[in-house]
């Protein structure tokens, strides 16, 4: 495949670009959101999990007799029994047969919180009573906690069959790295560590399953539905035929990645339902969500070198990264694909060496979290650019500006092979500097120091990629077992007999993004109707077309393509009908304002409604080849994916629609306590054409708030013995309204040449920028101490320790 045709975005839009009220909102405002816990089924039972208190231990024996005897308990399922009822869980990791992931731990537990026994009872209360009556005998095993130690020969193993804790390692060379470094006047190097945190939406994952032994049909309602074409893997786990599994999406109270492909809760519920013969709901509570959710974020160490000329020209990047994946590795090293999509940031760096080691430890595994591993790369790169600026005594603005890819250089291919479709970085920087009052705060900073106060201004310029391709799953291997290339999104549009439009979506119902509003606005644009008249509904996987869901900020772009395609099919049929009715040639007709008319003769016209009623009810009035009805589906495949080279020195195009942002952040640091307070914050994003600017801005702000949490407050802490220290919201700290400043937002729109209306994805960006900006500000504030923060989160204690070490 080559690049798609370049589009000219000349048409004035009526609905795309309007900040209309969201279609989704009324039900949520009225308290009728219909989340998974709001939908009990008759006779439904509840699951509570017995979870491991040990980081690493052999399961010696389990006594379930007291639990089973408790009135109200209907089933108690151990890992051994679960392994008979269910095959292993779907696993996109490098060697699933060796790092096997199951619904419940079987021979040993591999992290504090891992599920050991499932108790099914009449209420969650009784299920937990039952769980407390289960007695498990463990034999403690040495804890594997530090990934660098775990990667060494002789370390105890998380998965004995794997023979190592290193699940994957490879060194990639993109471009001529040696030449780039040979040319350098200066090389700065550092060790950086981004520690694990996670999405923790206010609603945890939940699944209700109902197995019908009469039909063999397994129906699962879940606040998660993604990668529908891959659900045969979940069917395999549950040992039902692939065409007898129907996963039905239910609105989700937030996800940010943690509900992406949430197969384990679905499998737990499904397994239990089959055992007891009635519907079963497994609802994670907050403790389950913190300890056993399988979606922890990146936990990554970098040893990195950045090579440059004395004038600040960036030449090359060389890095070795160790990623602590935890006890399983369900998505393989896809997080690094996200990084490699934009590894060189907005800069003209021409060579990258990327040495990656994925290590297993006794922690809950990683999954997806807003940015999916690219946000870590952004932070690392901007840390290094700041370091270089310091080394060369260059202004942080100048060094970035001089290295920007120029607006006339797009589409721009970075060394990894991915493409940046379009961009214009200087205006974004300029707007952010103005909104963030850079000059004002530089002056304030100087004054503050005279008072013994420490104010700092931070700056980052980073990319936010959108719309990933399937190749990212497998270009890690020279001989991948499944070199898949499909990653579509689908829609069905139905015009009923009165001309009213229904749009059916096929992947995750709703996460807090705005799929109904996006869909309605795009359909409205096509058909000249009011968006509030469009009914958006969600199909389960059983009835459905293949669909991927809202990962990697792809949903709006992909649904736009699907709607464009379905609309074209409908219009083609409508034109044929109208031509027949108007006794005109289809080529003489044009679409105007919710109807079809003869060019130059606006009176010779049929509205969409008039065409629709004919289509539905008057077959004999239609051209002979036209069937009754007026609906069409479109499976929109990823529009721009190219294959990697055999030697993987070029990964092809796999994340082409590249947004960009600049954050300017002003903080004050308390030197005694290391506390960080925000004085100002500006976020300017370019996500191409915005469909609903207000909605996008909401995601920018929300993403930045999560970025603040990631950077200053949130961490999943496992102590040296693997004990989990973050099992409550008393310890895992989510920012309140008083911890997030007012974010001044700016927008720039550099349309994509390849997508409908020039839309790019933009949901993840805020979290992808904030960490680097805040670190930049902290270092700037503490410059008198000569401090450089290297570990995220920059907790007050870490900052205070750095100050103390510097003599403060």
């Amino acid at each position: 495949m080559t690049a798609p045709a370049v589009r000219e975005h000349t048409k004035e839009t009526n609905w795309v670009g309007k900040s209309i009220r969201r279609i989704e909102d009324p039900k949520f405002l009225r308290g009728k959101g219909g989340y998974i816990a709001d939908r009990p089924l008759p006779g439904m039972l509840h699951v509570a999990m017995v979870k491991s208190p040990y980081a690493h231990a052999r399961i010696v024996s389990i006594d379930t007799s007291d639990a089973e005897a408790l009135p109200g308990v209907r089933a108690v399922i151990t890992g051994a029994r679960a392994a008979e009822l269910c095959d292993p869980l779907p696993d996109f990791g490098p060697d699933p047969a060796s790092h096997t992931w199951r619904v419940l731990a079987v021979d040993k537990v591999r992290y504090v919180g891992e599920g050991v026994v499932a108790v099914v009872a009449e209420s969650r209360y009784i299920a937990e009573d039952g769980a407390s009556l289960v007695s498990v005998d463990y034999e403690d095993l040495p804890t594997i906690n530090d990934p660098e130690e775990a990667s060494k020969e002789g370390s105890p193993l998380v998965h004995d069959p794997l023979g190592t804790n290193v699940a994957y390692e490879r060194k990639f060379q993109f471009g001529d790295v040696d030449a780039a470094f040979a040319e350098a006047d200066v090389v700065v190097e550092d060790r950086l560590h981004w520690r694990r945190s996670g999405s923790q939406p206010l609603e945890p994952v939940g699944a209700t399953a109902s197995f019908d032994s009469g039909t063999g049909q397994m129906t699962i309602w879940e606040n998660s539905l993604t990668f529908t074409s891959y659900l045969f893997m979940l069917a395999g786990t549950l040992k039902v035929p692939s065409n007898k599994l129907d996963v039905i999406p239910v609105p989700a109270g937030g996800s940010f990645g943690s509900k992406l492909w949430a197969v384990k809760p679905a499998a737990i519920a499904g397994m239990c339902s089959r055992v007891v013969g009635v519907p079963v709901q497994y609802m994670e509570d907050r403790h389950d969500a913190l300890t056993n959710n399988d979606h922890q974020g990146s936990d990554r160490i970098y040893y990195v070198e950045l090579a440059a000329k004395n004038d600040g020209t960036l030449l090359g990047l060389r890095l070795r990264t160790i990623e602590d994946y935890g006890a399983y590795i369900q998505f393989g090293v896809g997080h690094h694909g996200n990084a490699l999509a934009q590894v060189t940031g907005p800069y003209r760096i021409r060579a990258v060496e990327y040495e990656l080691q994925a290590v297993l430890t006794n922690k809950n595994q990683q999954g997806a979290y807003r940015g999916f591993g690219s946000e870590v790369n952004n932070w690392m790169l901007e840390r290094m650019v700041d370091l270089l600026a310091r080394e060369l005594s260059m202004d942080r603005r100048d060094i970035r500006r001089m290295n920007f890819i120029g607006p006339d250089q797009f589409p721009y291919f970075i060394p990894t092979g991915n493409v940046y479709d379009s961009g214009d970085y200087e205006p974004v920087l300029d707007t952010a500097l103005e909104l963030g009052r850079w000059d004002h705060w530089q002056a304030e900073k100087v004054k503050a120091r005279d008072d013994g106060r420490y104010i700092g201004v931070g700056l980052v310029s980073c990319q936010e990629r959108s719309v990933f391709s399937a190749t990212e799953f497998w270009f890690w291997f020279d001989e991948p077992g499944a070199p898949v290339t499909s990653m579509p999104e689908s829609v069905t549009l139905d015009i009923d007999a009165l001309g009213n439009i229904t749009a059916t979506l096929y992947s995750c119902a709703f996460w807090g993004n705005s799929p109904e509003t996006m869909t309605a606005q795009l359909v409205a644009e096509e058909f000249d109707v009011d968006p509030s008249s469009v009914n958006v509904v969600y199909a389960g996987s059983g009835q459905g077309l293949p669909a991927t869901g809202p990962g990697g900020s792809r949903f709006t772009v992909m649904i736009a393509g699907a709607i464009e395609g379905a609309s074209a099919k409908i219009k083609e049929k409508a034109f044929a009908i109208a031509a027949h009715l108007l006794e005109a040639d289809a080529g003489d007709l044009e679409w105007v304002d919710n109807g079809i008319q003869v060019k130059g003769s606006p009176d010779a016209r049929k509205t969409l409604g008039e065409v629709a009623i004919m289509a539905h009810l008057f077959k004999h009035s239609l051209p002979e080849e036209i069937e009754s009805g007026l609906e069409a589906s479109k499976v929109f495949d990823h529009p721009y994916t190219t294959m990697p080279s055999d030697d993987r020195s070029d990964l092809g195009v796999f994340y082409p629609f590249m947004g960009h942002a600049c954050h300017v952040c002003v903080v004050e640091v308390d030197p005694d306590t290391g506390s960080v307070e925000f004085l100002d914050y500006a976020a300017v994003h370019d996500c191409g054409t915005m469909v609903n600017p207000r909605s996008l801005e909401g995601h920018m702000i929300g993403g930045t708030a999560q970025g603040i949490g990631t950077t200053l407050h949130e961490e999943f802490v496992y102590d040296d013995d693997g004990n989990f220290q973050s099992g409550t919201f008393f310890n895992y700290l989510i920012p309140t309204s008083m911890d997030v400043p007012e974010i001044k937002c700016g927008h720039h729109e550099t349309a994509s040449p390849y997508t409908p209306y020039g839309i790019k994805g933009g949901g993840e960006g805020g979290r992808m920028m904030a960490p680097g900006a805040i670190f930049s500000a902290i270092d700037d504030a503490l410059e008198p101490f000569g401090i450089r923060m290297r570990v995220l989160p920059a907790t007050p204690e870490r900052i205070a320790a750095a100050i103390e070490e510097a003599g403060g």
């Binding site: 009220r21 609603e203 907050r286 909401g698 989510i734 309204s737 997030v740 974010i743």
Partner: protein, 159 residues
């Protein structure tokens, strides 16, 4: 199982029930009364999703037992709309996009109602501080503050 008889008023309707003494108020409202608009986010008293008004005062229903609500007058999010018509707070949140996933929204609406009942014209800072006990993971709070300001304006205009 021993149960305790309670009588209480929820959203203007009287209820009599026999409850297991260990059942939390939020579970009672959701499971017994079917008022699923109030949500459970943590059961630790940190997230505020379970906020309801008892005699006009905001409380965390996950930290109360149903039996403690004997004789109480409780308002949940379902009480805000009047049939089809939405409360000015709901209209304001809709207009200003003060929600994304909606999970924290009912708790925030009830807390916002308490704030506006006590202070019809709060400043943005007062609102932001006032909602500090309600976590939102989606919005970053800014549009929520704007929504409550907008609601205050609507209510003042209607007064």
């Amino acid at each position: 199982m021993n149960t305790v008889a309670i009588a209480l008023n929820v959203n203007g309707t009287s209820h009599h029930a026999e409850v297991d003494p260990r059942v939390s108020l939020v579970d009672f409202l959701r499971d017994e009364l079917g008022l699923t608009g109030t949500h459970i986010g943590c059961e630790q008293g940190v997230c505020g999703s379970c906020t309801v008004l008892i005699d006009g005062t905001s409380v965390l229903s996950c930290l109360m037992l149903a039996v403690q609500a004997q004789g109480a007058e409780i308002s949940t999010v379902e009480s805000l709309s009047n049939g089809e018509a939405m409360h000015p707070l709901q209209e304001a949140f809709w207009e200003k996009q003060g929600l994304q996933c909606g999970f924290c929204t009912p708790g925030i609406l009830m807390r916002a109602k308490e704030i506006l009942d006590a202070n019809p014209n709060p400043t943005a800072d007062e609102i932001r501080e006032g909602i500090a006990g309600n976590l939102c993971r989606c919005t970053g709070y800014q549009f929520i503050v704007e929504s409550v300001l907008d609601a205050a304006e609507r209510q003042t205009a209607n007064a």
